[in-house]
Subunit: 436 residues, 2 copies
């Protein structure tokens, strides 16, 4: 038994990481059914408070687990329960997109990411709560650390379920900050890949030129494992950095919008990383980046408003006021010429970013303005993520801080486009040093 | 009555363009029902030979037409029947993706492009035949000009239905050459937009980084009108060019693969355009473009093989041998690193293309190697389109040539990325001069 397995065995199974579960199942020391039951038991105890799940059928979960046990197969996610945001199709469970328009909707097939997760031996636990169409009108989920607070959105249930140890892995999506922010609020690792890497077939599109999947887990190694599975690749462990990283501390034009505690935590963390051997340099993005939220809003709203033409024309009265008067109103008023200007501006910003990285390996920046805010009406401020979403670069939030109310706050690490593996190596280094 | 309306009235309604139909309906000189019946009658006569339709319910068509007549609304496509490729979702008709896996599949909603077409007053006529999942295994459709020949693919039925005057408009898709080639074979105008402009929500994805909608019509004005509708924009007529265009004659590295007649037709056309006032210059793409089919194949196969994980794992035996041993085998063997290398190469080629345009307004090139080949087993060679698909630029095929067997061949016009309106202006100029 390895040290990490000994460590895993000492904790309840529902707290194990995906890597620990898959190893134990593949070694024959635990059954898929036992794993599933441990997670289901924890969900039964906690779901009344957290409400992370839009659909969960324990019998269906146990049936999957038993079939896996019978199969004798070994896979990189063997026996690992995972949740998927309810804008992601599943053939054996309803998919309702967080909207009354789609009550009872049963897709014919699994989204590519779901099918790839099952192929790897994963157990689809259920559908996690999403805001309405992954926009801002909230679902029922509460922050697992404080039920009076939002879990963040739009991947609300995905983040809460992982943060609460109901499942070790979940899939969300991100168009603005919909994975990074809720993962930060719920004390989990969140990852948004380089745009275009992970297939979004079977995911209800919000704005395709910005949408990606988002992965949420309780270790950066699990994130890397999950990504390989979703690429259809043979998983490879995260490589160690060849040397301590060169880190660009990127406060961005949003610095003044962060809570003072968050500013202080980031500053202290930067000094701690420096003491641990990293080279820290201040990175200021060009002034052009100050327009990025406006650019992001025009691109996403234009695409969103056209993507939802059917829902607008057939079910207007079932769309929330918040969505009608927000994203849709803005998007329907946005002309194609305005969209094109914004899309071109986004491309220019993308092209400028590598220069800002300079010789840094990664950037270090805020994942959210602070702890999850009180109240369930708003899912919080997505701006700190929108910069990186718009520029198509990979980003991760690491659960390293505790805020003034004892709630988690993440620190964000950003890498260059296509350098997702380097993001993981650097994230693990940063996490280990900050938690040391 | 305008001259064009007088011209329209002299022809059977099923031969009218979309613009002519919408004008007549909005003017009250013809009803939507009369238009629908004219098209249905022609389909009834010709469908046994052409077999363009995978699903067509005349009662549903007439019901839509009557509802439009009762509504008293006016729209840019008022009363215009349109067909959609059967990989595009419709809420009131089955959508089977050209695969036995999806027999009887009924999507819950319309694809964005369908809903936008209906919002503009269009009548969804039915679902046109697609190859299996828009790949190469053919459907039942035959070339409307010669039933022993392929209509091209993968938008086989969409091109045949428009070429045969069953409907004035149809929507296909293109991942390699799936709109331009069948439009060329079927004597229609075909258009592939700048990648990312027209929303693909509700369209079964083949390879998202290359997929676009493709529009097929019998006039370039109809194409421009249809595009505006699908952008959710107020339609604007095509502007005249400010002066005769500067045209780059781009033979490409594929020149020797074209049939000698096609080469001769293109050379003669170039001289004719020159005589009409255009400036013609030879444009040679850099040698790097010779790898573009390899690059395209790696990108599309990698994405395709992951997108179809559910179908592979649940319905392998219902997938054609052609798809299993072609795209899927290649895609499953393609590693993520190979994919990334190809995607990066595609980006480099995209970045190089504007330089090749030099000061040309458009490029003039082959749409297909020649007439539609005899036989229904293959849908023909897509290579002449793949160059432009991979580089994300807008392209159009114009039905200007007749081949040695009396069958149509298109000439292709290509514009810079985001210059789709210029493509239309130049296409009309080129078409008018070549047909003069």
């Amino acid at each position: 038994m390895s040290a990490s397995q000994a460590g895993a065995s000492a904790r309840p199974i529902n707290e194990w990481t995906a890597s620990e579960i898959a190893r134990a199942v593949n070694d024959g020391t635990v059954t898929c059914e036992a794993v599933a039951r441990a997670c289901l038991d924890h969900i039964a105890a906690r779901e009344p408070q957290v409400q992370a799940w839009h659909f969960l059928d324990p019998e269906l979960v146990i049936a999957q687990a038993k079939a896996l046990d019978r199969s004798g197969k070994r896979g990189p996610l063997q026996g690992v329960p995972f949740g998927i945001k309810d804008i992601i199709d599943s053939f054996d469970m309803p998919t309702e997109y967080g909207s009354p328009i789609y009550v009872g909707h049963r897709p014919r097939s699994d989204a590519a990411c779901v099918a790839l997760g099952r192929r790897a031996g994963g157990i689809l636990m259920g559908k996690t709560v999403t805001t309405e169409f992954a926009n801002v009108f909230p679902g029922k989920t509460r922050n697992p650390f404080d039920p009076t607070r939002t879990p963040g959105g739009s991947s609300s249930g995905s983040a809460a379920a992982v943060g609460d140890c109901m499942v070790p892995l979940s899939i969300g999506t991100q168009t603005t900050g919909s994975t990074i922010r809720p993962a930060s609020f719920c004390g989990a690792f969140g990852y948004r890949p380089t745009h275009g890497d992970l297939r979004t077939v079977g995911v209800k599109e919000a704005a395709g030129s910005l949408d990606t999947l988002g992965l949420i887990a309780r270790s950066i190694d699990d994130i890397a494992l999950y990504r390989d599975v979703l690429l259809g690749a043979t998983p490879e462990p995260i490589a160690d950095l060849p040397r301590a990283p060169r880190i660009g501390f990127c406060r961005t034009h949003l610095w003044s919008t962060l809570e003072p505690t968050t500013q202080a935590l980031l500053e202290q963390a930067a000094r701690k990383l420096e003491r641990a051997g990293a080279t820290l340099v201040d990175v200021d993005l060009p002034k052009d980046f100050e327009e990025i939220e406006t650019v992001h809003r025009a691109v996403s709203s234009f695409e969103f408003a056209r993507n939802f033409t059917f829902e607008i024309d057939h079910h207007w009265e079932k769309i929330s006021e918040k969505l009608r008067n927000g994203r849709l109103k803005h998007g329907l008023a946005c002309t194609f010429d305005q969209y094109l200007a914004a899309r071109n501006a986004a491309e220019r910003l993308r092209a400028m970013l590598p220069q800002s990285f300079g010789d840094c390996d990664i950037l270090f920046t805020a994942a959210a303005t602070g702890e999850a805010p009180v109240g369930l009406e708003s899912t919080g401020n997505a701006a700190p993520s929108a910069i990186w979403t718009t520029t198509h670069v990979p980003q991760a939030t690491l659960p390293v801080f505790t805020g003034p109310n004892g709630l988690p706050i993440g620190a964000q690490v950003v890498a260059r486009r296509n350098e997702d593996r380097k993001l993981f190596s650097a994230s693990r280094w940063v996490y280990d040093k900050l938690m040391a």
